[in-house]
């Protein structure tokens, strides 16, 4: 931290270490806390997946080397992953990646750090609430991780936790539910903070149509979190009641498990869980993708040196997308036996929601036209996001149409589809964001060569992992199978599984340059001034790293967010907060 000698910051320097860096109320410290914690969780989630990949490539064979004894006889006797353990790995991979990794990084990390800076605010509207959000998230994460060590292990009913399976599951599921209640509460507090901050604390002159697209994306995301998460909290409470108080919200009458009639009243409905779950979990998909689109828009505008194409239509599209995302959820449930009228309705809404996605993607692609494109690491990740998200979006079409969904539902096609959206899509955007804003946070740039090595190998291996899944899915291989070779169609596609697994382990190796780069650059990266990318948005008008309170004088905004290469200017960027010409 560089020291700025300003009277009004004086009180901050007096704070003890634990108030300044651990229980801090500064949005930047909280943002970094979120980002680092989320990166660790991404690493954990990725590790779980690599174990899954071993079992899928070599079903029933003992894990290699020291791994064979690491997980104990309860999980992997003789190094052979048991189906129970496999299901834990699967459920927790999904939960950790979504709720503890990607969302906390994109919303908690980038949102917290960048949004107040981009709107010229000194902090979030409710700093203490912000701190509380982080710590509630942290506790939720600890509960989730702890559940691996309770009797019976962690939750093993999938990240979707469908009842009745989840209700009759071992106690790991209870920890999962309690962990989820914490994570949901954290998200709710965070989203309130984001909404109020965006509405109330924008700098003078920063009207809504001068906001960077990233802020818009976060703003819409916050509404999704605010209104879609509570029904999942409801569902979580109901499932906890079913598990602990033996009620029957999700349990119909006459259940017989392993030959024993369940001693419950019955009268519930398992579909209810799916409705409440997907009412959140579909908007959640957009929570995963919108901030990523925001990051990509920032990086592309900055590195093409020209304004974003169709800025306003992108904003209308993102608002419409957010709205529509609340009324498409049942397309995850075409095959539960709902009426064809209802499925027709949800097919129509699903096709409608594809239009704004295409508009945003098209606008980002057209933004490249006429630019002077700089191929630095953040830009490479942002460019790669476009076709990768494109594949993810397009493969949603056959899943969104009920007739083709008959064959593809719950197969590897689904896994390929949403991973293309989230892994080479969102996670690439998050990498772009890390490389892009790292200099603002630390005052140093990350190494370009290591960054490019990281990018190219990640790009190759990402596709190596997810592209074959479409062929497995078309072949009809079901998800979540401990040993797909039990089936003839699984046997015929098994070579693909081996290929995917090696790609996944290659992807892990490709992250080594990133990890070296990340930690190395904190100490040895090239020192930069406050605006190394020559960008226009407000965060680059603040000192680097920004002091407590962010700006030396409250910024005033004079123009839109992407005024690059404006004719008549000496330089090819014209910052939002600059009154005179540049």
């Amino acid at each position: 931290m560089s020291h700025h000698d300003h009277d009004h910051h004086g009180h901050h320097h007096d704070l003890p270490f634990w108030r300044k860096y651990i229980f801090s109320v500064d949005h930047k410290v909280i943002g970094v806390q979120y980002a680092v914690t989320a990166l660790l969780f991404l690493f954990v989630g990725f590790t779980l997946m690599m174990l899954i990949r071993w079992q899928l490539a070599f079903p029933g064979q003992p894990l290699p080397g020291f791994l064979s004894t690491l997980f104990g006889d309860a999980n992997a006797p003789g190094g052979i992953i048991l189906p129970e353990f496999y299901n834990q790995l699967g459920a927790m991979h999904g939960t950790i990646m979504i709720f503890l990794g990607v969302v906390p990084l994109s919303v908690g990390g980038f949102g917290n750090y960048v949004l107040p800076l981009q709107i010229g605010a000194p902090d979030m509207a409710f700093p203490k609430l912000n701190m509380l959000s982080y710590w509630v998230y942290f506790i939720g994460g600890v509960i989730m991780l702890f559940s691996f060590f309770v009797t019976g292990g962690a939750a093993q009913s999938g990240w979707t936790s469908y009842a009745p399976l989840a209700v009759i599951a071992q106690q790991g599921q209870t920890f999962w539910l309690i962990g989820m209640v914490f994570l949901i509460t954290s998200s709710l507090l965070g989203s309130i903070n984001f909404i109020v901050t965006t509405v109330q604390l924008r700098a003078d002159g920063l009207s809504f149509f001068r906001l960077p697209f990233f802020v818009w994306a976060q703003f819409v995301t916050s509404f999704l979190l605010l209104l879609a998460f509570p029904p999942l909290e409801t569902a979580g409470v109901l499932q906890l009641m079913d598990r602990l108080a033996h009620t029957s919200f999700f349990m119909p009458s006459g259940l017989v498990v392993s030959g024993e009639a369940l001693a419950i009243s019955g009268g519930g409905n398992p579909i209810l869980w799916q409705h409440l779950f997907w009412f959140l979990a579909h908007p959640e998909v957009y929570v995963l993708i919108l901030p990523a689109m925001g990051i990509v828009a920032e990086v592309i505008a900055c590195n093409t040196r020209k304004p974003i194409y169709g800025y306003k239509s992108m904003i209308y599209a993102v608002v419409f997308l957010g709205f529509m995302s609340f009324i498409v959820w049942a397309h995850h449930m075409y095959l539960v036996g709902m009426s064809t009228e209802m499925s027709a309705f949800f097919q129509v809404t699903t096709m409608i929601i594809s239009i704004p996605s295409i508009i945003i993607l098209t606008a980002l692609l057209l933004s490249l036209w006429g630019g002077a494109i700089r191929f630095n690491t953040p830009m490479l990740f942002a460019i790669a996001f476009l076709p990768m998200f494109g594949i993810g979006g397009l493969t949603g079409l056959p899943l969104g149409l009920a007739a083709s969904d008959i064959h593809l539902h719950d197969t590897y096609y689904v896994i390929g589809h949403f991973h293309y959206v989230v892994a080479p899509g969102t996670i690439f955007a998050l990498f772009a964001g890390i490389y892009h804003w790292f200099p603002k946070v630390t005052g140093r740039k990350m190494n370009e060569i290591l960054g490019k090595v990281h990018f190219f190998f990640s790009f190759i291996f990402m596709n190596g992992v997810f592209m074959p899944m479409f062929f497995q899915g078309l072949a009809g291989v079901s998800r979540r199978l401990w040993d797909p070779t039990q089936y003839a169609h699984g046997l015929s596609t098994q070579p693909l599984n081996v290929f995917i697994s090696f790609s996944a382990w290659g992807l892990a190796l490709a992250q080594i340059p990133f990890i070296l780069n990340f930690f190395g650059s904190i100490f040895a990266g090239k020192k930069v001034d406050q605006n190394p990318w020559e960008a226009t948005t407000l965060e680059w008008s603040a000192p680097t790293p920004p002091p407590h309170g962010n700006f030396l004088t409250p910024p005033v905004v004079y123009r839109g967010p992407y005024e690059y290469s404006v004719p008549g200017q000496k330089k090819d960027f014209w910052p939002q907060a600059m009154k005179e010409t540049n």
């Binding site: 509405v199 509404f223 209104l227 879609a228 029904p231 409905n269 579909i271 209810l272 409705h275 409440l276 009412f279 609340f326 009324i327 049942a330 449930m333 709902m338 009426s339 209802m342």
Partner: protein, 93 residues
Amino acid sequence: MSHSEAELKNQVKVYISVFVVLMFLTMVTVAVSYLHLSTLAAIAVALIIASIKAGLVACYFMHLISERTIIYAVLGLTAIFFLVLLITPVYSV
């Protein structure tokens, strides 16, 4: 919120009248429940009365009757999704 003196004095009268109406409606809804109406009629009457009561609380105690656009916008959006959540599941089971 800032109010002039006269406005504030008037407020108390409003609160008291709303209180009286709420008490009256509570009595009505309990009384109606002893009438043994058909299920549908009973539901309709009870929900209409509850909605009126809720409306009074929201409008006068929570001052929604003279609130800002931003609050209406947030609540309008919430109301739409609330109805979607309330109605859709029962039709698709």
